[in-house]
Symmetry: C2
Subunit: 493 residues, 2 copies
């Protein structure tokens, strides 16, 4: 057997255990009674250790060296590249650092859950200092191994190929027009009135409504489910994708659009190349591309006029007896495109969201590169919030730099994916519209042409191409902010 | 570290992977969409291989040898005994035989799923011959390793300590009075009329009813769930027990009592000794003792007059508007104690059930010991059915020796557990009644004294005692058929 084949079999083996981790993780979030948590956490930890052992087996070094001398097809070369990438990610850091960071991160996150509520920056900062220190060590090691700058080496975990140079350009572009666009949108919406849902919207009815929309979006229920969890997510495996949502019975708009978002993630997973199942090359390209699919569903499709019509019609059917003005397409459109300057990223609308991400990007970039100290973050946060959104967070840590979970355990480099996803999505839509009348397809209720395009250009590619190649082949150009700007202008100006 | 401690840590490690297997197995039966099956089966197979590797690691031989020289407490001696037992079970058979039997069993079972429907004994018999041959080889190897007879070595897998000598005595006793008791019961019930459920009993209402009964039975919902699957079972782990049922909307009696049964299994699991969690000594004693708990719930408690009152009252609350005669306690009692001679074991009532088991026991004992040939089974089956239940299965294979799944993949030695369980349950009840007014406790709606007794005498013992010790300590005598006979006579004569 060739070394490449051996590596493939080994990757398949790892994927089986990742499968079990994904299902048990889903169960833990969506099904498990609270009393099962301790035993489950221990079992999952044992599984993690086993997966890590598989990923770092000594003979892999030789297999990779051997495989690079073998003659491979293009597909196999890409498969080798992606296996090797995952192997390098698994072996790049010394065990001691991984454990120290994991410990410091858990400690910081755990304390943060109460410190945030009491606005306790000083308590938080004590734990967080260690997380930042260890993350910088991590970045240093990754930088040496990859030849990238410290922060870029962290970016590379989530968004391979993207650098701070490219982000500075992309986000620099957005920064130039976004604050003014937010002003104009707010002005335009000043006399707009929307009716907020009030009353009771039973979870069972919301679920049925969500499922009808998932059907419209051609979610494959033979290879997936919809359930509930406190924090919505898309999990499972491509052959069995588990998405979750959370119902509040006092309103339905959040959960409904949340389902559209997760369905985007899910269809990407369901559409990944089946022939490469269980191989790194058959996995999703990156966090940013994953988010591009959920945001394509949520923002590009989900908030388009013809899709809003479907939402309104379906809501009418499932919430008969509710105020018909509330359930009108006009009101849905108003609710789903309402712009508001706010402190909290996860509550932000489509238009203000990039400001939250760019702010975080700039801060974490400088923090990891050592240009700023962790003690300076609250002040930096306040000044950037004032600059981008006209809001001050002076003294308000809990709605400022303490609001997100990401930094508490050192996931630096993740935030840019959100806005990269939004940009990719806009660029994909622009490209798609050159050959498909998207609005007409949505209006007809048969969205097949849209999904065929996505499957052909994005889903079926898995990780065979680099992100740059993928975007260029799909859209004819590399990622830029023009389509994103045009999309936002068309919707909000 | 002592060898004993090393063995304990190793056992704990194995239990983590068994935990994952239990949850993913539950998910496969209760949650997974059909399209996920192939990938899941592959992942579960990889997990099985990993667990088997852990169970058979070469250094264990030395650790066991070493541990036997170490000074241990009584509890630790029992813990060592049970670990060693599981290790021996895992290592006793050559890999090649395990694989051959698994293959032959899968092939036979798969074909059986269609052959049974078409009454195709000759097709079945061709595959089954191989299963029987390999099972005899297995029994032979087990016999040599344990010093037991061939069939007893198979019994030992499921019911350690029980031999065909003891079963011949126990079942021989039952055979003497059972046929006559069935006759008398049928005669007594001749003029009894019961109303069968008709109409629609929505699954959601049945589930709510089931949960209210689980509450009465003090199922711990913080450490378990109730869900649905085609074949009801009790799975998961002691910290998180997953029971399932299957609702037919045209009736509710089967599912309701099925839930009582599985709750018995579940409370045993939930009541196992927490200090021994993850160790073989902390696991359920045997198949027979497990079944004794489910049958204690289903037969001893569940069909008692005061429990039937609860069932009827709760059914009234959940099925308001249904015929009140149907939902009367008298009718419930009649429905749940109706005796009928039938072909099918899984549909059999409490009184005729032992006949089905004894028949299978006698046949499989002689088959594995080589006293009869697999070709002789249909004839033997027919003659024993006539003898015990007055029914002929001549030419009717599908309702005769082809009805059960157990033999298709060579699970010989399992059947006796069912009736052993019923006997243990009756003996436990008789002992309990010496100190507890069981009917009064049930009537009061607070069944705590009953569960305290079970926890103290059965659940908390895990596998620290042998089955014989367990039964003797709990009831003051070793297992015998007297209490079972008295119980059946009191209920049916
Ligand atoms: Zn997302
Ligand atoms: Zn049972």
């Amino acid at each position: 057997m060739t070394a490449f084949k051996q590596l493939q079999q080994h990757a398949k083996q790892i994927s089986h255990f990742n499968h079990l981790a994904a299902i048990c993780g889903w169960d833990q979030a969506a099904m498990m009674p609270a009393g099962g948590n301790q035993a489950r956490s221990e079992a999952m930890a044992a599984l993690s250790v086993h997966i890590h052992q598989l990923q770092t087996q000594p003979q892999l070094t030789e297999w990779y060296a051997q495989a690079e001398t073998e003659t491979l097809t293009d597909t196999d070369s890409a498969a080798l590249r992606e296996m090797k990438r995952q192997w390098q990610q698994a072996t790049i850091l010394p065990e001691a650092l991984v454990q120290a960071k994991s410990l410091a991160g858990s400690k910081c996150e755990h304390a943060w859950r109460t410190q945030r509520g009491s606005n306790d920056w000083h308590g938080y900062e004590k734990n967080w200092a260690e997380v930042v220190k260890l993350s910088r060590e991590e970045a240093q090691i990754r930088a040496e191994a990859t030849g990238l700058s410290c922060y870029d080496a962290m970016l590379d975990i989530y968004e391979p190929g993207v650098t701070s140079t490219s982000l500075d350009t992309l986000f620099g572009d957005v920064k130039q027009w976004l604050p003014q666009m937010i002003n104009s949108a707010l002005e335009k919406q000043q006399q707009q009135r929307c009716i907020e849902p009030s009353g009771v919207f039973p979870a069972a009815q919301q679920k049925a409504l969500g499922q009808s929309i998932m059907q419209l979006l051609q979610f494959d229920f033979n290879h997936g489910r919809l359930d509930e969890s406190v924090h919505p997510f898309c999990g499972g495996v491509p052959q069995d994708v588990r998405i979750t949502t959370r119902y509040s019975e006092s309103e339905f708009v959040q959960s409904l659009m949340g389902i559209v978002h997760e369905t985007g993630h899910a269809r990407y997973e369901q559409g990944l190349p089946k022939l490469l199942a269980g191989q790194p090359a058959g996995e999703a390209r990156s966090m940013g591309i994953h988010e591009s699919q959920s945001l394509f569903f949520e923002m590009q499709l989900g908030r388009s006029a013809p899709f809003i019509e479907h939402l309104a019609n379906n809501a009418h059917q499932h919430f008969s007896g509710q105020d018909s003005k509330l359930l009108s397409a006009d009101n849905f459109q108003a609710l789903y495109t309402k712009v508001e300057r706010g402190f909290i990223r996860v509550d932000a609308d489509e238009l203000t969201y990039p400001a939250h991400v760019i702010l975080r990007y700039e801060i974490e970039r400088d923090l990891i590169n050592g240009a700023v100290d962790h003690k300076d973050i609250p002040e930096l946060w306040d000044s950037k919030m004032q600059q981008y959104l006209g809001l001050s967070t002076a003294g308000n840590f809990k709605d400022g730099c303490m609001q997100d979970i990401h930094w508490t355990d050192g996931a630096f480099g993740y935030f840019p994916s959100y806005t990269l996803g939004a940009m990719y999505a806009a660029q994909f839509m622009a490209a798609m519209q050159q050959t498909i009348d998207v609005d007409a397809a949505v209006r007809s209720g048969d969205l097949t042409p849209i999904f065929v395009w996505l499957e052909q250009h994005i889903w079926s590619k898995g990780s065979l191409l680099t992100t740059d190649q993928l975007v260029k082949q799909a859209t004819g150009e590399t990622l830029n902010a023009n389509h994103f700007k045009a999309h936002l202008a068309a919707r909000y100006l």
